[in-house]
C-alpha cells in the first residue's frame, strides 16, 4: 500500500482533538521494579516506557572503566510487540543511535565524578509505541536516575515537535509522524533552559525551527513540573514508601 495524503488538521484541531501546543496525557509511576536501584514507568499518550537504573557498580573488563568518572550506559529497546509491525528483537541501527543521543541528553546532569571506575546502566523498554518514544524514554530515565539516588545537577525533560499540514505542532503521535513533514525531538534542563538533545529530520525553515524550539521549551517546563511532582509525591503523600504514587495530571482530551 502507498502512503496516502490525509488531512491532519481540521477546524484548527488535530485528529485526536488536541490543539497545536498541547501535550498528550502523561502518567508517571516511580520505583515500580523491585530489583532495580531506581525505576520509572512513564506514559506519554499511547507510549509506554519503563526505565530501570542499575548502579553505580564496578565494571569489568577494566578497559571499559574510566579512572576518573562513572561511565553511563544507556540502552533504548523497543519490545517486539510494541509497534504495528513486529520489531525484530535486539539492537538495530535506529536503537543504537537513539541510545547514544539519549545518553548525551542525560550525561550533562549526572555528576559522574563521584563514582570513578563504575558504570551506571540505564535500560529503557518501550512496551507500546506511538511516536515520541525516545522522549518518553528520556523522561522516564531521568526520574529513574533520581530515584536510584544518583547525584545529579538537575532533571532532564524531553518532548518532540514537528510539522503537519504546514503547521508546527507539539508532541506528534504516530499518524502525525508518518504523514508529517518534519520531526524534532528535544531534551532540556528546564531550570536553566539548556538543551541536551536536539535531533531533526524532515524539512524546516529557520523560522519554523525557531517556533518549534519555543514550543518544545514550554512543554519541557510543563513536563519538568510533572516529573518533580511525582518524585515529591512519592515521599510526601504516603508514609509507606512501598506504595507507588500515581501522578496523573496530563491534559489529554479536555
Amino acid at each position: 500500500m502507498k502512503k496516502e495524503k490525509i488531512e491532519l488538521i481540521k477546524d484548527g484541531k488535530r485528529l485526536d482533538g488536541r490543539g497545536f501546543e498541547e501535550l498528550r496525557e502523561i502518567k508517571i509511576e516511580i520505583d515500580v521494579l523491585k530489583r532495580a536501584d531506581g525505576s520509572c514507568y512513564f506514559e506519554l499518550g499511547n507510549n509506554k516506557a519503563l526505565a530501570a537504573v542499575y548502579g553505580p557498580r564496578e565494571i569489568h573488563p577494566r578497559h571499559l572503566q574510566n579512572e576518573k568518572t562513572a561511565v553511563v550506559v544507556y540502552n533504548y529497546n523497543m519490545a517486539p510487540f510494541s509497534a504495528t509491525d513486529r520489531k525484530r528483537p535486539g539492537p538495530d541501527r535506529r536503537s543504537v543511535e537513539i541510545s547514544k543521543a539519549s545518553r548525551c541528553a542525560l550525561d550533562p546532569v549526572i555528576l559522574k565524578e563521584y563514582y570513578p571506575k563504575t558504570t551506571i546502566n540505564v535500560y529503557v523498554e518501550l512496551l507500546q509505541s506511538d511516536a515520541g518514544t525516545r522522549t518518553a524514554a528520556i523522561n522516564a530515565a531521568s526520574i529513574a536516575l533520581a530515584a536510584a539516588g544518583i547525584p545529579m545537577r538537575d532533571l532532564v525533560s524531553s518532548i518532540a515537535v514537528g510539522k503537519i499540514d504546514g503547521e508546527v505542532v507539539l508532541d506528534l503521535n504516530a499518524v502525525e509522524d508518518n504523514h508529517g513533514e518534519a520531526d524534532m525531538p528535544v531534551a532540556m534542563i528546564a531550570r536553566t533552559n539548556t538543551i541536551t538533545m536536539l535531533q531533526m529530520d524532515g524539512r524546516f525553515t529557520k523560522d519554523e525551527f525557531e517556533v518549534g524550539m519555543k514550543l518544545a521549551e514550554k512543554a519541557c517546563h510543563e513536563i519538568y513540573e510533572l516529573q518533580r511532582a511525582a518524585l515529591i509525591a512519592k515521599y510526601s503523600e504516603s508514609v509507606n514508601a512501598n506504595v507507588n504514587v500515581n501522578v496523573n495530571t496530563g491534559r489529554g482530551e479536555e
Binding site: R57, Y114, T118, A148, P151, I189, V239
Partner: protein, 271 residues
C-alpha cells in the same frame, strides 16, 4: 544525623536550596553563587550547624575512613580477602590483619582456614585511596557467628535506625531483647530468640520505609509495645538480654573452628 530540631522537606536534583553559598553542605552543589540540591532527598537544617544538607533517600554506600561495615568475603586473592561491602567497590582485607589474631603467619593457600567465601566480617574502613581501593582492618572488631540474622537496608536509612543519641536502637534492643549491630553500610546483624529477631526485623523494615517521616520513634514504640505481651515474660528479661549479648560477643570474637563440609568442598580461584 537527623536530630530533633529538623524540618523534613523533600527535594529533587536541581531544586533551589539557598542564596548563601557558604551554607552549601553535603548533597548540594553551587552554581552561580546559589546552592542547589544534587540528590533526591530530604533537606536538613539544624540550629547547630550553618550548612544545609540534603540527605539522599536512596543510593549506593560510599565508604569513608573509619566507617564500620559488615562485609561478605567474595574472593581470596593472596594476600587479600576480597569483601563485598554493599558499595560499588569491593574492599580488601590483608592477611596480616588476621595474623595478629591467629598469632602466626598465614601462608599461601591457608587463608580459607581463617576466613572463607561467604563468611561475614565486621571491619573498619582503614583507608580509601584515589583509585577507590578500600582497605579494611579487623583490629578491635570481630567476626560474626552463624546463628543470627543479617538484614540489609539502604545505608541512607541508618541514621534513623540509630535515632537521636541512639534512642531508636536502644529501644529496639530492649523491646526485642536482641543483640543488634547496625553497620554504616546498611547491613544489620541481629541475634536473639527467633521471635525477638523477627520482631526486630519487622521494626527495622518499618523504620526504613518511613525514614522520611516525623514522629517515627513514637510509632515504633507503639508497634513494639503491641507485641510486648506476646513476647517472653518480662521477668528476667533484662538478665536474658545481657546473657544474649555476652554469648553473641563470645561467639563473634572467637574464630570459628568447625567448618561445615560444604564450605570445605567449595573451590575458588587463587592467584
Amino acid at each position: 544525623m537527623i536530630g530533633h530540631h529538623t524540618m523534613y522537606k523533600v527535594v529533587v536534583p536541581g531544586d533551589f536550596i539557598s542564596d548563601d553559598m557558604d551554607r552549601a553542605g553535603v548533597g548540594t552543589y553551587v552554581d552561580g553563587s546559589k546552592v542547589y540540591a544534587m540528590s533526591y532527598g530530604i533537606v536538613i537544617t539544624s540550629d547547630k550547624e550553618e550548612k544545609i544538607k540534603v540527605a539522599a533517600l536512596s543510593g549506593k554506600y560510599m565508604p569513608g575512613n573509619g566507617d564500620v561495615v559488615i562485609g561478605k568475603i567474595t574472593a581470596i586473592s593472596f594476600p587479600y580477602w576480597i569483601a563485598d561491602i554493599a558499595s560499588p567497590y569491593d574492599a580488601r582485607l590483608h592477611s596480616s590483619e588476621f595474623e595478629q589474631i591467629a598469632n602466626r603467619r598465614i601462608e599461601f593457600g591457608e587463608m580459607s582456614n581463617y576466613l572463607d567465601l561467604d563468611d561475614l566480617i565486621v571491619a573498619k574502613v582503614l583507608n580509601v585511596d584515589a583509585l577507590m581501593r578500600i582497605d579494611l582492618t579487623l583490629r578491635e572488631e570481630f567476626r560474626m557467628g552463624t546463628r543470627g540474622r543479617l538484614i540489609e537496608i539502604s545505608h541512607t536509612k541508618v541514621p534513623r535506625i540509630i535515632g537521636r543519641n541512639g534512642s531508636m536502637i536502644k529501644m529496639l534492643k530492649e523491646k526485642c531483647n536482641c543483640f543488634i549491630f547496625v553497620a554504616k553500610n546498611g547491613r544489620i546483624w541481629i541475634e536473639g530468640s527467633e521471635s525477638g529477631m523477627e520482631l526486630a526485623t519487622r521494626a527495622v523494615k518499618i523504620i526504613a520505609n518511613e525514614a522520611h517521616t516525623s514522629g517515627l520513634t513514637d510509632r515504633i514504640a507503639n508497634f513494639l509495645d503491641s507485641f510486648e505481651e506476646k513476647g517472653t515474660e518480662k521477668k528476667g528479661k533484662e538478665k536474658k538480654r545481657k546473657e544474649n549479648r555476652k554469648n553473641a560477643i563470645d561467639r563473634l570474637i572467637g574464630i570459628a573452628k568447625n567448618k561445615d563440609e560444604k564450605r570445605k568442598n567449595r573451590t575458588y580461584k587463587r592467584w
